[in-house]
Symmetry: C2
């Protein structure tokens, strides 16, 4: 099935600002609460949110094999489980319904009132129930930076790093979406020079600028996925902020890896941009040397040219962009990550999420975490409001954005934006 939804010449009868992340060529998927307080699955064109549950009930998806309630759900998991042919058919159909040359819905005021919402009428929800979440560590620049800081330049990359996409299991229950505030975590840390740990608020809360991909049901228990098939199981991508408490992480992580230094919160952008929508932005991955083992060898363009930025907005002040980087810098691509993950037979299910790991580019302003940008706090960043930051302060809001752009079209992810609140106070419980 061709991806007719990607036709760059198409315009919509819905208004779309030329700088919008969501032209009719994007058609991402999300879950939102409507003005009637109903949860539905939807998409977005320009600044209009579209209720796919309502569209389906009104018959606009006739001819596509979909269960009656596929869009009347709290999560996209079941829709994602339907597989790529269905995703593609639905995206193509949505493009047709909202095409400037199609007057069916455009001229049906009653239907439009049921289907279309202004953004201020809806509230975005978590798009999927994440069964399992894995975070990779796939940016060579990031791994080198962190390795250099903690082990010195000569031992920066561990011996395994160039041979496999290093990853670890993360916590699903604390993945939330945009606009939900996060309390500064408490935990055990070992203060500089101390011999005993203390318990208290983390002093080094950081962001990690990542992308994450969301999978469909990929394999049965025990069955690896060959590398040629891996991309078939990737539904789409979101922005991912892997919030990190560096001091908690440092004390706890040897020998079993990051735990409470990460599991207090991870935040994602609410619209899942499909792999189909990103097709025009495929690029070559960085050259891999040594050549990966045969089960990890990919051909062709397996990376994507996605511009990324992270900003910090102090309370009541303007934001300062602190990092600009690109998803294409990733050393290990998503197909390699998914194939490696299932190489031992580990099952991957619909709604599972895999983070890229912090995405750092080659230049100092393209690093994807405050740890790297300020080099462990040694080089504070100057903010527009005159203050400086080594890490994230209480009441700072961290904002991440991502978009692809060529001469024809811009496909964006919107943003993920969350405020860091002070430590949780049980007496002030909401």
């Amino acid at each position: 099935m061709s991806i007719s939804a990607n036709n760059p010449n198409r315009t919509s009868w819905l208004y779309v600002n030329k700088h919008s992340d969501f032209p009719i060529q994007n058609i991402p998927f999300g879950v939102f609460l409507t003005r009637e307080d109903v949860i539905t699955i939807g998409t977005r064109i320009g600044d209009t949110a579209i209720d796919l549950g309502a569209l389906h009930q009104l018959g606009y998806f006739d001819g596509i094999p979909l269960t009656d309630d596929i869009f009347l759900q709290d999560t996209l998991n079941d829709f994602i489980a339907d597989g790529r042919q269905t995703w593609r058919a639905v995206r193509n159909r949505i493009a047709d319904i909202f095409d400037a040359n199609n007057e069916t819905l455009k001229n049906n005021t009653k239907h439009k009132e049921i289907v279309c919402f202004r953004l201020d009428e809806i509230e975005m929800q978590m798009p999927v129930l994440v069964g399992d979440y894995t975070d990779f560590y796939a940016s060579k620049e990031h791994a080198t930076n962190v390795g250099t800081m903690f082990r010195g330049e000569d031992n920066a990359l561990m011996p395994n790093w160039l041979h496999l996409p290093v990853g670890y299991h993360g916590r699903s229950s604390s993945i939330i979406t945009t606009h939900i505030p996060i309390n500064r975590p408490q935990g055990q840390t070992l203060p500089e020079g101390a011999s005993k740990p203390i318990f208290g608020p983390s002093k080094l809360v950081d962001f990690e600028l990542e992308m994450a991909f969301i999978t469909t049901d990929a394999n049965d228990f025990g069955e690896p996925i060959p590398i040629e098939e891996a991309e078939d199981y990737i539904f789409g991508l979101v922005l991912f902020n892997d919030w990190s408490a560096r001091d908690i992480q440092k004390w706890e992580y040897v020998p079993l890896g990051p735990f409470l230094g990460k599991s207090f919160a991870s935040t994602i952008s609410p619209w899942i941009v499909t792999l189909d929508a990103l097709e025009p932005f495929r690029v070559e991955s960085p050259k891999q040397n040594p050549k990966p083992l045969p089960y990890l060898r990919t051909k062709g363009k397996k990376s994507f040219d996605i511009n990324l930025e992270a900003a910090i907005k102090p309370k009541g002040a303007k934001e300062t962009v602190v990092s600009r980087t690109n998803f294409k810098y990733m050393y290990w691509n998503m197909a390699q990550q998914l194939t490696h993950h299932t190489s031992n037979g580990c099952p991957v299910n619909s709604g599972d999420m895999m983070g890229s790991g912090t995405i750092s580019g080659p230049t100092e302003d393209s690093y994807g975490s405050m740890l790297e940008l300020t080099w462990k706090g040694e080089k504070p960043i100057k903010m527009k409001d005159g203050t400086t930051r080594k890490f994230i302060n209480d009441h700072d809001t961290v904002i991440m954005r991502a978009y692809c752009e060529n001469d024809d079209v811009r496909i964006g992810f919107g943003q993920v934006k969350n405020e860091l609140l002070p430590v949780f106070n049980p007496k002030k419980k909401k």
Copy 2:
């Protein structure tokens, strides 16, 4: 509410062998497929499986606030979310229904036919949908053994180990229950003396003898659980075999922890024994020195005296018990684990599972893994059939059992029993 179900003097009108793990004082919870191919929630007394969905429909739980379909589900998650008062009321009622002095169901042949099953008529299923699974590393003997092997005696325990229950996030999707065979995993390993890794079957597949506890909805996003309340959120325990591929683990695990060396399979016993049923077997934990930080200090008996054993059964031969140990050896107790886990605000939900980590005792025959029992393969174990084992061979079945016993009663967990098959062959796909 008193736990009348624990009355040691009670007997049942159902036959219970005196060595049974499942006297009327146990009343565990599980999920099974009935002879009519229906999935239901049930319990077990002696060798009789009891359909709680049917009992509820027949009115035997009248007066206990339960939704109509609470036992007609694929998993125990919703029942567990109902909380301890409900679990206790249901267990007490089941004890009454099957009490030798209660003739209501006993004399109702028609009802009995609907409610009671022989074990060979049912097939046990996963009792919960595990949202998140965490594995701790809470046995000092195990951590010391592994540390000594890999880092030498002087650096055996990492500096953090005595201050916090070290843990890491594990993979939920590959947790399965008893009797499901497992394929030997493939993966990357670095052969002894080699400079480059290879990809192929793991040569060092091991078991880890653990217990795991299953939680109810414990806390909201951002809210820590005080140590005094932690046990309120523990529903019950199962046996847990944390299958491990030592060679894959060794090559991959630095710096982010175990990943594919574990995620090919973890297996649990199918009946969840409630914390209530284990009350008579509370014991003091090992003395903790240094004293834990205040947020981790517990009072009273927070450990449980649970006898554990692991056996290996080669194909067509008798089993050999290779380890006998006890849950009470754990240095960090479950309350400490759960409180530590939520100390940063990480939410814990109904059905989440937390493994103890390998449970090793003080003597060489009480170690909980082949890695330790054979000391990295240096001291092979002699089997009853004359063969020896360093690790697990293809077609070996690993069997774990657990039980508590005092003068009055024996409360057991049954077993978890899984065969290791050769590497998955796509041409022979079932």
